[in-house]
Every structure is written in C-alpha cells, then in structure tokens.
Symmetry: D2
Subunit: 300 residues, 4 copies
C-alpha cells in the first residue's frame, strides 16, 4: 500500500454513479442536491437502482452496481460507513474510485459532510484530491475441498459464537503453520480499515490505513495471553471450528454478509487481489479523524 | 460476607446428597468409591436422581434435588465448576453446605481432587474444614410490571447479543439512577465467584470471594472508556434493552439457564437473600488457587 | 460506607475554612468572592495560611490546617482534585466536612463550578445537600519492625519503579496470605475515590464511591493474567520489594507524598480509621459525573 | 521483510565469534564446550573480550565487537534475550548472522538450549537452517537541529517518565503529521521483535517478526481510547516532550541504553538501514515459541 499521493494531472470525471444509504429517506435531499450539481457540471449521473426507491420522481437514469462499475469513472456514496462498505464490496472488481459523503455524523470512510459537499466536489473535480488504496479480504467457507460460500470484506471477517452462551473452540493456521487452539467468543480478522471498527471494541490495535497487514483479534478469549496478532496481509489464514462448536458459530463479513458453517468446514481468509480506491479531499488527515472520532483531545 | 472461619465444634454430618456431572459416565467410578466410603462411615447417602442414570446397579436410594435439600446436611458434588453451579442454584434455599470434588482438572469451586477425596473427607467429617458463604444473584425479566421469567445465578447474569452480528443497545440503571446507554455485545453482571469465569475474559477485575460486591462488565463496548464498574451487592441493577435490539438479545444465568427478552421487557438483577455455603479443606487457600489456575507463577 | 443521605435537619455552619489551589493566583478571585459571600452570611472565615500568599491584602484571619480543623465546621476547597486530596489528608482526623469548588474544569471531587458557587452555597447553607463518607488508606514503610515513614492516601498508594527502565519484582500478601510475586512497573492500591484516577489508566475497574473495598492494580505486569484484584477495605496489604529492586522503587501517596524504600523494608497498607466527609449539592449524581468525565455519551 | 527461507547451498562458516552473558559465570561451561566443539570442526573462534573475563584460562583469541564483526562469518550468543539484543546492536552494521543459545530458559531470541547445542550446530554447519531478517530502530535525540545522543534498538525505543510519580505530556508526529498530545507514563516504539517484550505488558499487539511495521504503544495513557497504533516501519516518528515534563522523562533503547532529554529536545525514531540476521534451526516455528512462552496451551 503506498501512501496517499496528491494527484497532479487534471482529472476529468465524466460519469458518476450515486449510491444512497439503504432504506434511509433522509438521504434523498442530499442525493437530489448532488445530482443537480453534477448535471450542472455536465457529469453524467447513474443512480443505483436500489437507491432509486428513496427518490420517487428522481428523473435520473438508474443502473445496477455492475452497470455503475462498467460505465462510471467515479462513485459517490451518501450515507454512513456501512453504506460505503457495501458499495466497496460490490464495486471493487471494477477499480472505480469511491467518494463518501456523510449525512451529519462523521464516519471513518465517509469523511465529507453533506454541507460542504459541493465545495469539496469543486476541488475534487478540478483534480485536487488524494487517492488512497485500501486492501480488502476474501473469505471462503470450504468443505471437502469445495467452496460452499464466500464473500469479500472491507472491514473484517468475523467468526462469532451464534445462538449460544458458551464460548466456541477453533484452531487457527497461518500459511500452513498451526497458531493456536482458541476458546473464545470468536475471532476478528481485520483489515487496517476495520481496525477502527469492531476490532477496536475487542482490544485490537489501530493499523494505519496504508499498512500492508491484517490483525487477528480474539473476542473475549478464555486465555488472557491470547493477544491480537498482526501479520502480513498476504497471509493465508485458516480457521477450523471444532466439530462440537460448528453449529453455534457463524462467519460474517463487515457485519453485513453472513456465511454459515457446517461441521467439518473451514474458513479461509486472504487478501483480495483488487484494492478499494478511496478519494479524499486534498486536506484529508487520517490522524485528525482519529482524534475526532476517538475523542483523544478530551482528557478526563 | 464474613471471611472463612475454621469450624471448632465437632461436626456430625449424618446424611450426604451426591450429585454427579450431568451425562458424564466418567464420574461413575468416583461416585461408587464415594458412596462406599460414606456408608462405611455410617453416613446415609441420597443419590441425585438425575445422576442415578450414570450408575446402573448403584443400589443407592435416589431423590430429587428438593428431597436432598430437605433430608441431607451435606451435599457432595462430583464434576466440574459447572456441576457445582447447577447444584448451588437448585439447593441454595435449603441452606445446605456444598463440597466439590473434581474429576482431574482443578476447578475454582471443585477444589478437591478425586485422588485425595477420602483423605480430605476424613478431615472434614472430623470437623476440620473451612466454611465460606458466597453470594448469588437473582435475575427477573419483567414486562408491564409482571415477571415473565426468572432465575438465580451463582456466577453471572449475562445479557448477550443473540443470533446477530451487530452490537445491541441498552440502558442501565443502578438503584434507580441512570448509569449509561451502552452499545456493546452485551453486559455481564458477575458475583465474586463469577469474576474468575466469563467476566475475566471480558476484562473484568477479580473480586475476592468474600467481598460484598457485584461487577458490571460490558462485553466489547463500542466506547472504550466504558470500563467495568463494581457496586455493592445489594444494588438493584436494571437493564432495559432498546426496542430494536430486543429480538437480538438474550439473558443467560451461569451460561446454563436462558431467559428470552421481548420488546419492552427489562431485566432486574439483585442479590439473592440466601447464600451458598461452600465447604473447603482446612488448608484451602484462595490465592494459591488463583496462582495455579491463572498460571501466575510462570513468567514469559 | 453508607450511601449518601439527604440531610434533614437545618444545618448551621458557623465557621468555614478556605483552602485554595497551591501556587495558583487564578484562585484568588474566587476566594475573594467566596470570603465576601460567607461574611455576608455571617459565617466566620479562616483562611489557610499557605493559601494566604495568593491573596495579598486579603484582610482575613489565617490559620494552619490544624487550626482550621479545630475551629471550623466546614472547609471549602477551591482548585482541582489535587487540592482536595491534599486538604482531605491534612484534615481527615478532625472529622470536618469538605466541599470542593473547581476553577473551570469539572473534577471528580471538586464538583461545584465557581460560576454556580454562591447559588449552590445558598442551598447547602440552608441544609440542602448530600454528605458522603469516603474511605482513606494509610501506608507505612516498615523495617525491622519499625515504621520508618508513613502517610495517608485518599486516591492511592502506588509502588513505582523509579529511576530505572527495568521492571521491579515484589511479593504481595493480603491478611497474611501470599498472593503473588509480581514482576511489573509497580502496583496501585486504590480506594474507590482513586479508582477513576491513576488506576483507571492501568486497566483498573471503577469502584462505586460507597463500596467498602480497595483495588490492587498491577502496572504493566509481565504476566498478562495478573489482573486487578478487589478486596475488602479492611484488608492488610503487605508489599515486600525484592532486595535487588528496592533501590529502584518508591512509594507515593496520591502522587503527592513520596516515601523511599530501603532494602529489607516492607510497605503495609490498610484502611484509615477516619473517613473523609464530602459535601455535595443535593442534586449530585455520581453516574452523571462519570458520563461527563469519561465521555461515555460520545460514541465513535 | 521476506519470510524465513531454508538455505539451500552448503554454508561454510569458517570463523565464529562467541559472546557470553555479561557477568554470568554460569555461561562459562557452555562457552568452553562450544569453543571445544568449534575447534574440533576446524572453525576459528574469536572470543568477545568482555566475555573473556568469565573464562579465566580460556586459551582463546579475544577481540572487540568490531574485530568480531570484521573477521567472523557467524556469531554465537550464549545467554538470554538481553545478551542477544546487546550483540545485535553492536554487530548489525557488519551484516553478520547471529545464533542464540540459552542457558536453560527458552528466550524469544535465544531459541537453542545448551543441551541440544552441538546437535543443532551439526545441522546448522551442514547448511540446514533458517535465516530471518529482523528490523531495528534508530533513535536520536535532537536539539536545535543537532543530534545530542543516539542509539539503535532491536526491541524498542521507550519514552519513560523518570524520577517522578506524575504522568508526562508529549506530542507525537508521524511523517510530519501531528498524531496526538499524549498524557501518560510514556510511549513504547516497538519493532516486531520487541512486540513480545515490554510492549506486550502495556497492551501492545503481537507483530509477526517478518512484518515491516512498528507499533506505538502508550504506557498507562490518561485517555482510554489512546490505543496502540501500528505503522509502516519506514515511518519517521517524532516525539516532543512538553517543556515542563522534560526533566522527568528519559529515553531507553532495549532497556539497556539510556538517552537523557533536555527541555526543547525531540526524539526521532526511524528504521535502521541494516537488518539483523538471525539463524534458527531448520525446524524453528515462531508460533510454537509463542505458545510455549505465553502459556497458550494451558487453559484456566
């Protein structure tokens, strides 16, 4: 992962896909303002067909995620971090850059407020912005050598105990080496992006976004020395849930996609070949956001 | 809770109830040895009827937990800590002392090994032992002023997220005072006994067994300053799960009893009037057990 | 410790001692306003002689801490929590109630802002207030059976490594029982009051102020399972620093009093016989203060 | 950092430098055995002149660290991890591989026991071994643009409060970006190698040895959301201690080298150009060592 670099050439975005927060009519006003702005700038607009339901009478062309990926050269996401996670997973294979606009509450990923949206877009469309590449994970559930289900994850792949009060037991291997038999409430495999999400609640470290690494963070481990481990992002991580625990365990990706486990199945997590391209305003400062989001300035 | 005191008078236990680990045929040998030993000592034996299934041809009188509670003046539990938790909840109202024998792996509660069992019992039956009083909790789920379900807990009353990847949201009041709105994977209300169980995996403190206190330990809290709080055991703790979270939340007591939550229900946790009476060998040392169980002696 | 109780009888404070933050001229204005207010209310004012230096031309009678303790029936402390810790240690033996006024930044102990000071005092002088009893610790360094130095502590007695990069090694006994040999940067013995001070930075639990308990919180322990332990406040806690570590170790009380250690010395910490009496406004709410000070309301 | 790779070519070590634990006469026997073995294998032996004092009548040629670095093609260190840290710092610029033999207690770095020493060396001298490259840090204290003191560190560069009970205050910048103003007992900047040393006691994550990263781990931070941050190893980390705190702060490297701070000085930490080359037996397994050292196998 290279550090964010200021784009020098004049960037000409010609066609923008718009994706709004799922099921949130509050995103409508911002979407209308944004589409008006973009058309005025003579940028073609393609509205996500799932989002279109928020905007009765929008008068915009709509398209599937695939159509957006193929036809647009920029995607603007309006909502919270969850909306951007979803957009990133669905569009990563198209290599299209994503820009996040929040609806009032600063997110780690959606870092432009709707109030300053058009002003920031003036700069960005003029080529003044930072582009950052962020890694994703790919998780597959395998049994008898066959993949039974799979998903990408931008934040994290999480093994949870499910429908049960008791902890689960599982073995972890990294690059074919046995790491440990864990007894815990689960395990979070987190990208740098996900390190400030669920992993942080479970005592995980903060990984700088450009770090080429993945953190394995056990959830409420029975053994107190079972600390988070950070490994190279290219590592092949294998989790094999104990037969007795498999019915009380599940995999989720970004807390949005759920993969079920059957006895004998193993979960394999690795780095996705493609990266997510995030667009930030030119004055973007990761540590400033950390300080704001984690209330570092406010001492007790 | 008064500290453990050495019994001075000669204690004459006349009738012992025996409870074995549920569904573990391995407990059979120890139960046979124990019942033989007790009859030789002219102590009447009453075998828990659930345990009797482990012992085909046992030739012993069997009884329900209630019969054991009414007729015996000592209960010997053979199994792990989980077996003793179960026995304690079912017998606490009878004020009968409990003695725990483990089947090989030292427990926090079952502190006599089956190898040294008869030797320890010689001492205990001669009146050389420590008796310790330990507090229990009582949890009730209430809705519209009515109790819909309830249970005692010797280790902990735990609010869990259930069947869901996302955190739950809930308000906690103590003695009528609002404490906080938590967003987390749940909350553990732990007795001193439970402080070395699940609560310890979730960053809770160790509470000395005789401390008259209860710990509230949030599980993976979203806000990192949401630390464990220790309050007087007599406190009335109220947990009200947010309507949207209620269907994805559940209460468990000692990880063994499950109470379901419906929207609008609240959970009230308080100290049980009766205490559990635990019998230990005269040389029992709490800190020695901590050191052994938590591997304190072994530095890395 | 009994819970705070609303005073019913009409309280007639007749004489107030005033103590200002040491060396802070900014406390002068508030002290002047306060002394004017009190004289108007016909309450005799005795100014702490150390504080008097802040107030050239104050025209008030001055006295030592002992004179304040003997002659006044209320002490008002103006400054931060540190000022109140100091006042509490110097006055605890007189059983005189303390009221804390902060100079702009809310403290855990100085909970009245200088802006609302006179309004709150109207209520308090009319008998509308809460009185809370809080426990103190007493630490003594002993060698060959003799006490070589000693101090009270309202927040905590802390064993620190000193002047050294390496961890220190020490044994802890509680009530004569060996607890553990620790290898760490030190150990915090904290009152409930101190549980939201240094102990909190070192992973200690929050103890409710009325809990009759003390927490032992190891600082950066080498063994990760060396977790905080909470014991009854009446416990006798003995810390014996390893001979080789003694020259690189020191005891501090409330971070304000320093006691040196010599090889062979041991530190004995126990509960002070007298309690500190804290006066709060009638609407005082401990949890509200926790939420404000620990930023619990602000999610990331 | 590339993963450890099995050496294929037949390695002919011709000259070995020997370094023993400083001031430990117990290392003498192993050193004698080792030098005998090496001479039998016709490998020239050069004994560290500091170590030579342990071996009266050793009959070996002695040399300074620089002579060892220039003349030998292998260095064997006999002692604990501390001995190897010291050897690594003194020899890193020579690019010479290091092999660690422990004197009874398994270390993270000295992973061959003296009992199995000659057997392991048979394999290693036959070319069957793993070589691992590990990164070091370089810390310099700068004032008014001049370097006043500097040192390498293999485990960690630590900013400590010193000679004081109170926390210190300091600003951290990474690559010129302001990260945070910390109020804490200090800050650990740790290599992957150091992540299982002091940093682990202060809640730092475990970094896999081949990860090209550095962890910043605050010590007892006042703000609980000040979590460890992991950044690329090539980052320039600048720590500027507040003027008022400078006299109560110090820098140590590996806990062995101490650099003093003066008001106005700043500490700059970056990656050392050269790496340490560690030699392990061919069956070396990092996770196996973690499990052994952190007692992961032993559940409570």
């Amino acid at each position: 992962m290279s550090p964010p670099a200021k784009s020098k050439s004049i960037q000409a975005f010609k066609s923008a896909g718009l994706i709004g927060k799922y099921g949130d009519p509050g995103a409508g006003g911002t979407l209308r303002e944004l589409s008006g702005y973009l058309r005025q700038r003579r940028i073609e607009v393609l509205l996500d067909e799932g989002t279109a339901q928020l905007l009765p009478g929008h008068g915009l062309e709509t398209g599937s995620r695939d159509e957006i990926g193929r036809r647009c050269d920029l995607v603007i996401v309006i909502g919270g971090d969850g909306t951007l996670l979803n957009a990133a997973r669905s569009l990563v294979s198209f290599g299209i850059p994503l820009l996040g606009v929040n609806l009032g509450r600063l997110g780690f990923l959606v870092d432009i407020s709707s109030q300053e949206m058009t002003q920031r877009l003036d700069d960005i469309l003029a080529g003044h912005y930072l582009e950052e590449k962020r890694l994703l994970l790919h998780a597959s559930v395998e049994r008898d050598g066959e993949v039974t289900s799979a998903s990408d994850a931008f934040n994290d792949v999480v093994l949870h105990k499910w429908d049960a009060a008791r902890m689960i037991e599982f073995d972890v291997h990294i690059n074919g080496r046995f790491v440990n038999t864990y007894r815990s409430d689960g395990m979070i495999v987190s990208t740098p992006t996900g390190s400030t999400a669920y992993a942080l609640s479970s005592n995980g470290p903060i990984l700088h976004p450009t770090l080429d690494a993945v953190a394995l963070v056990p959830i409420c481990p029975h053994t107190m020395s079972n600390r988070p481990i950070v490994v190279e992002s290219g590592s092949r991580i294998e989790i094999k849930v104990d037969e007795a625990s498999a019915k009380n365990a599940r995999i989720t990706c970004d807390g949005q996609i759920s993969l079920s486990l059957t006895p004998g199945a193993r979960v394999v997590v690795g780095k996705k070949d493609q990266c997510v391209r995030l667009i930030h305003p030119a004055n973007y400062d990761y540590y400033q956001m950390l300080r704001a989001k984690l209330h570092w300035g406010e001492n007790f």
